[in-house]
């Protein structure tokens, strides 16, 4: 087993859940999920020599996953639709909606998912990372902007989503 092979196996076995979870946002079904997961693994392999421990391994993995999912590094920059699947509770916490006040949870979730898909590409990435409970510092490092900038963007997204909910009287 080569060193590269060994390092690769170790990284994947420690992070398979994280990779899979990020891929879920960008795949509508199991088949797409499998394809994206494989694509991320291929890009982890391609970039593995660049990991020297300067950043956290999780940050490194998120970078590869996000760049792969959005196609930033190749010829096809995707205007990806994101799928929130079973992330309704996390989403509710994110925009501080009181559980008791929500009568039609499914409707709320549908509205939010639609609205999130209207957001810009960068904001979509931020949302997925926030829902994965990635801290602001790490998000800043994945995207390459400052931490205060991340906070501003998150605040803006929250307000935008809240405004939409208000317009639906939710």
């Amino acid at each position: 087993m080569s060193k590269k092979d060994e390092k690769f196996r170790k990284i994947i076995s420690e992070n398979e859940q994280k990779i899979s979870s990020i891929c879920r946002y960008y795949s509508s079904n199991d088949e797409d999920h499998k394809d994206m997961y494989q694509e991320v693994l291929i890009n982890v392999w391609k970039s593995i020599d660049s990991f020297r421990g300067d950043s956290q391994l999780s940050t490194w993995i998120y970078r590869v996953a996000v760049n792969t999912a959005m196609g930033f590094a190749n010829k096809e920059i995707r205007r990806q639709k994101i799928f929130l699947g079973d992330k309704d509770n996390r989403l509710q916490n994110f925009i501080d909606v009181d559980e008791g006040s929500v009568k039609e949870k499914e409707k709320l979730f549908q509205i939010l998912e639609n609205q999130i898909n209207q957001l810009s590409v960068i904001d979509k990435i931020i949302i997925t990372l926030v829902l994965e409970s990635v801290n602001h510092k790490e998000i800043a490092s994945v995207i390459g902007i400052t931490e205060p900038n991340v906070r501003v963007k998150i605040h803006r997204i929250k307000n935008e989503l809240k405004e939409v909910l208000e317009s639906f009287n939710i």
Binding site: F8, E16, R63, S120, I122
Partner: protein, 177 residues
């Protein structure tokens, strides 16, 4: 005993990727050899060749060919590596900044290729001057071919790469907002 991956057969994936790594290295090596052979042939024929019939123009032409092929080899090496070894682990901003540079039409390094093309033109004129008796039609043909080449390249870039270039520029602007 290693834990089995839930989503994928890692062994098959790794062996497939190792095969691709090997193939990439071979392609790269082959191209390097082709350029090296060109440099060797032209250098040998026009520069090292002791033939007394070779004029100063021939020697100059040989020099131009060798420099031009060296520039092409350097450019090829740089860009082939850049395209094949895109680093997915950079931040989104860095990857976008690199993509913006990669998909531009006017790349700073293109000056090298342009110098190479001019040198080949000069070399061709120098070599053909022996047979042309002052008739330099070959220059016009060369310039015409050059214009056609650049136009086709531009149209191809407009169709294929411009949309990506514009998208990356838009996303970079969005990042700074």
């Amino acid at each position: 005993m290693e834990k089995k991956n839930k989503y994928m057969d890692l062994n098959a994936l790794i062996s497939d990727m190792q095969l691709k790594d090997k193939r990439y290295k071979n392609i790269f090596k082959r191209f390097q050899i082709i350029f090296f052979v060109f440099i060797f042939i032209y250098g040998g024929l026009f520069l090292v060749n002791p033939d007394a019939e070779l004029t100063i123009n021939d020697r100059l032409a040989g020099g131009c060919y060798v420099i031009a092929f060296s520039l092409f080899a350097f450019y090829f090496r740089k860009y082939y590596k850049k395209y094949k070894e895109v680093n997915y682990s950079d931040s989104v901003k860095k990857v976008l900044t690199d993509a913006e540079k990669r998909y531009r039409f006017k790349k700073p390094d293109f000056v090298l290729v342009f110098i190479g093309i001019i040198l080949i033109g000069i070399a061709t004129v120098l070599v053909s001057s022996k047979f042309s008796n002052g008739d330099y039609n070959i220059i016009y043909i060369y310039i015409l071919l050059l214009i056609i080449g650049i136009s086709v390249g531009y149209l191809w870039w407009r169709k294929d790469n411009r949309p990506i270039w514009l998208s990356t520029k838009k996303l970079l602007k969005e990042l700074d907002e």
